[in-house]
């Protein structure tokens, strides 16, 4: 097995998700390589050695500065072909998913996504994918190489194992259609805001609140419980609440003792950011909301009725 792991980086740092996947790849054996694509990124390549990469292919070019997927498909496709790669692994991210899918089409290769594990069974690679709100696990395979896989974010811990990587530059040849889209603005989020990662209690609000004014309900309950306030991507994108409070794949990953989800459907994008909470309580008026499949206590009800009452009761109890 010759494995290639896409090494995502941001502001001069390799991303934990990619490093976790690299550690997983190393545990499966075979030749483990990484690929690093960007502008002025060669210095990062050696770090990947500490997480299990024996070799890192580097495509370092000014034209690759913006984190756009299509030029990266070009680079990965030529590495897969030229280096005899049979397995390409990605940590799920906005960028990683688009590259994996584009590469699947380019190489006519099978892509399995949302995997939480990968193992060798009787000489074949088998991935594990939770389905239907994680109510069932599906074992998935590939009809042949190259095999592509996207892992659910935060699945593997990036534990340093030591070691050094050989660094090899690869030529950059971009397809015409890969150079059409341009990044014209990159606004990095401010890092201030509540420290959600450390909070013991988080009360979070979603679209089911009905409007930004109803976040006062969430804030009231959070205050009564002594917790912090979180939000879903949908309400952050809609401008109801600041980005710094966002929990999910494109936001923060949290693991409080108690997570109270108010008007949150539990889309996979949100779930991956909070599923490791100790206890999850969900209040949502839609009985079919996916969040009820993994909440410890699910309440089918109107957040506007239940949350204010709950806040009062918690206050009484804590005051007593």
């Amino acid at each position: 097995m010759t494995t290639l792991v896409f090494l995502e980086h941001h502001e001069g740092e390799l991303q934990k998700g990619s490093l976790g996947v690299l550690v997983k790849a190393a545990s499966l054996g075979g030749e483990v390589t990484g690929v690093l694509v960007g502008s002025d990124v060669r210095a990062l390549a050696e770090q990947a050695g500490k997480f299990g990469a024996a070799k890192v292919y580097v495509a370092d070019d000014a034209s690759l500065g913006a984190p756009l997927p299509q030029p990266r498909v070009d680079v990965l496709a030529s590495v897969v072909r030229d280096q005899g790669i049979d397995t390409v692994l990605f940590a799920a991210s906005v960028l990683g998913a688009d590259i994996a899918s584009g590469l699947a089409a380019r190489l006519d290769a099978g892509l399995n996504w949302d995997l939480v594990d990968l193992a060798q069974q009787d000489g074949e690679l088998v991935g594990k994918r939770p389905a239907l709100g994680d109510s069932v696990y599906v074992d998935v395979g590939w009809t042949g190489p190259p095999r592509l896989a996207l892992f659910r974010s935060g699945t593997f811990d990036p534990v340093e194992t030591g070691g050094t990587a050989q660094v090899e530059d690869v030529p950059v040849q971009l397809e015409e259609h890969s150079q059409i889209a341009t990044m014209i603005e990159q606004a990095h989020a401010e890092s201030e805001g509540p420290n959600l990662e450390e909070a013991d209690v988080i009360v979070a609000g979603g679209r089911g609140l009905g409007g930004p004014e109803n976040f006062t309900l969430v804030e009231g309950l959070a205050q009564a419980l002594g917790g912090a306030v979180g939000a879903t991507r949908a309400v952050v994108d809609a401008g109801w609440y600041p980005y710094s409070t966002q929990i999910g794949q494109t936001g923060k990953t949290v693991s409080p003792k108690l997570y109270v989800a108010c008007g949150i459907s539990g889309a996979i994008q949100h779930k991956v950011g909070m599923q490791s909470a100790g206890t999850i309580v969900a209040i949502n008026k839609d009985p079919n909301a996916p969040i009820f499949e993994f909440a410890d206590l699910g309440v089918v009800g109107d957040v506007h009725q239940v949350v204010p009452k709950l806040t009062e009761l918690v206050k009484q109890r804590r005051g007593a």
């Binding site: 892509l111 399995n112 996979i268």
Partner: protein, 251 residues
């Protein structure tokens, strides 16, 4: 401007995997994938803002997908093309993207829109494979879309903040569910949908094969998460939550 919107029918209500095929049981009632309604809505807004043009729905699935397509037609789309063929039943990303790209090549739309994910298989990748087959630029996860001077410009959220990406048409854009609030079909729209053109194609008519490079091997129980309890609010849900939290020593 001609806009193609790729939509999918997903099973309604309680979903299950068929133990014999190990695939999603699609025999029951179906619905338009809710994430796709945002893409349909965005297409309608762009068409209407441009003062004309056409919104074409493109889908692949069982024959009864026409029900889901009718809902999108009732919202205001002009026409629908469905690829329905037994030979496409097991198609995965590679196969589905090949089939959709063949239809889209034929349609030659200025803009191809996708929703952000399929509500059934949780897939959120198809647009990039289709864009690659069409050799067109792609912008994904778009929460704000503007189209002017022959260019699409999308603002989208990533793990690190917001990006703005621009691409000249023809382009492929996947929209997030934050982009708009989809309209409900009007009575007039529902009546009118019945007479809108709907075309059904087989793979041979399209001259393409579907196929799959991935396979489902087995189903298993997930690791237990402990008991999950679901209650209906009969006016005392708040009390029940407090009791539950007290039991768990979380108060």
């Amino acid at each position: 401007m001609k806009i193609a919107v790729c939509v999918k029918q997903v099973p309604e209500g309680n979903r299950r995997l068929d133990p014999s095929t190990k695939r999603l049981d699609r025999s029951g009632e179906g619905a338009l994938n809710p994430f796709d309604t945002h893409a349909v809505e965005e297409a309608l807004r762009l068409r209407d803002a441009a003062g004309g043009g056409e919104v074409v729905l493109v889908s692949m699935g069982p024959q009864k997908t026409v029900d889901a397509l009718r809902k999108a037609l009732a919202m205001g789309a002009d026409r629908a093309v469905l690829v329905s063929d037994e030979g496409a039943a097991n198609a995965d990303l590679v196969g589905t993207s090949r089939v959709l790209a063949a239809v889209l090549e034929r349609e030659g739309a200025d803009l191809v829109l996708f929703g952000q994910q399929a509500a059934d298989g949780d897939g959120a990748v198809l647009w990039a494979a289709v864009a690659e087959r069409l050799r067109r630029p792609v912008i994904s996860q778009v929460a704000e879309l503007t189209v002017s001077d022959g260019k699409a410009r999308g603002k989208r959220q990533t793990e690190f903040g917001y990006d703005v990406i621009q691409a000249p048409l023809p382009a492929v854009v996947a929209v997030s569910d934050a982009i708009n609030e989809p309209r409900y079909p009007s009575l007039k729209g529902i009546m009118g949908a019945k007479t809108k053109p709907q075309e059904t194609l087989s793979l041979s008519e399209l001259g393409v094969e579907a196929g799959a490079k991935t396979e489902v091997l087995a189903l298993s129980e997930p690791p237990p998460r402990g008991d999950t309890r679901k209650i209906e609010d009969n006016g005392n849900a708040a009390e029940q939550i407090v009791e539950f939290l007290a039991e768990k020593r979380l108060l």
